[in-house]
Subunit: 200 residues, 2 copies
C-alpha cells in the first residue's frame, strides 16, 4: 500500500489499535525475550522504526537503551509521546528516517514493513542499512508465509514473506542474516523474526 494509504488507515483506528496491541504485557513472551535479547547485544543507540503505540520503544528504554521511536502515523506519535513521556518519538517515513549515516547500533522494525508493497521493501532496507553502523543489527518481525503474497489484514492490506525471500532482500542491502525464528500457533498468523547484521 502507498505511504498515504497506510497512514490514513492507521490514523482512523489508532485508539482501537492501541487498546488491542499497545502494551508489552499483551505481547508474546517469546517476542519479549527475543527483542530484549537482541537489544542486550546492541552497541550504540537504537531506533524503533514503525513504533506504532510505542510500547516496544518504551520497553527498550526501560532496559536501559538509548532509543527513539519513529512512525509514519502522527496519531501514533502523539499518543506514544503522551503514554511514554520519557521516550522521544517523532514522525518519519522509511524513505528518510532522519538519522545520520551509521549513527545507530541497531534498528527494530517489528511488523513495520508488513504493509509495504514488496518492491518497496528493498528501499526501506537500504535506508535501515544507511543508518546502522557497520557491525550493528536489524531485528525484523513479520508474517511468515510460503510465498510473498498479500492478505486482507484488519487495518490495511499486508503481506506474508518467506524468511528466505526476506533474507535475499537483506543480503542485497548489505546485511548478513544471523538468526531466523519462526512460530506457528493456533489463532495467530505464522510469525517470523530475523536478526541481520550490517556487514557491508
Amino acid at each position: 500500500m502507498s505511504t498515504a494509504e497506510v497512514r490514513e488507515a492507521y490514523t482512523g483506528r489508532a485508539d482501537e489499535y492501541i487498546s488491542l496491541l499497545g502494551s508489552v504485557a499483551d505481547m508474546h513472551e517469546l517476542d519479549r525475550e527475543l527483542i530484549s535479547r537482541w537489544a542486550g547485544r546492541l552497541d550504540g543507540p537504537a531506533l524503533d522504526a514503525g513504533c506504532g503505540p510505542g510500547h516496544w520503544t518504551d520497553h527498550l528504554r526501560r532496559l536501559g537503551h538509548d532509543v527513539e521511536g519513529v512512525d509514519l502515523v502522527p496519531a501514533f506519535v502523539a499518543r506514544a509521546s503522551e503514554r511514554f513521556p520519557e521516550v522521544p518519538f517523532r514522525v518519519a517515513s522509511f524513505d528518510d528516517l532522519g538519522v545520520a549515516d551509521a549513527a545507530l547500533g541497531g534498528v527494530l522494525a517489528w511488523y513495520s514493513l508488513i504493509h509495504l508493497e514488496p518492491d518497496r521493501v528493498a528501499p526501506a532496507l537500504d535506508e535501515f542499512a544507511r543508518c546502522i553502523a557497520p557491525g550493528g543489527t536489524l531485528l525484523l518481525g513479520f508474517f511468515d508465509g510460503a510465498r510473498v503474497e498479500p492478505f486482507p489484514h484488519k487495518v490495511v492490506t499486508a503481506y506474508f514473506w518467506p524468511p528466505s525471500a526476506m533474507t535475499e532482500r537483506l543480503e542485497a542491502a548489505g546485511f548478513t542474516v544471523e538468526e531466523v525464528h519462526t512460530r506457528a500457533e493456533p489463532g495467530s498468523r505464522p510469525h517470523a523474526a530475523v536478526v541481520a547484521r550490517r556487514t557491508n
Copy 2:
C-alpha cells in the same frame, strides 16, 4: 541407533557431555523461555523423558512443578541424582516409561528422540501418549531439517526432522500440534520445537 548403542555412546562421554551441556545457564535463553512457558500451563505432573544430566528437570522443579527425570543412560541418572538431590531420577527407556496410563500433565522430550531410527519414533510417541492425560501436552525439541535424514552427531548418529514430518507422526499418535518454533543461528544446527496436545 539401537537403544544399546545410544546408551553405550553416552555412557562413555557422560562427564564430557555434562560439562558442556549440563547447565541451564548454558542453554539458549529462548529455549529456557519456551520450556518455562510450556511448564507454566501444565495441569499435573511432568516427566523429563531423556533427561540426560538433569538440568531441565531441575529447572522444572525450581519452577514449582512435580517432575521426575528418566534416562536410558545409568551414568546420567547417577550424576543427575548427585547434582540435583531434590529431584527424582531413574533409568527408563521409551519402550516403557514406567508411568501409569494418563498419569502425567506433560512430557518434555528435549532432544531425546534425536538418535532414534526414524521408524522407532512412532512407538516412542505412542508411549508418551499413553502416559499423558487427555488435554496434557508434549514438548519436543529436535534438529530441524528439510528431510528426515541422519548426520554424524558428536556422540552418536542423530537425525534431522522437518517439523511437518514430526507433526504427521504426532497426529498418528493422537496428538494435535499446537505450536511449532524454529530457529536458525550461526554456529548451531537448525532447531525446532513442537508443543502437541494429547487429544485422542
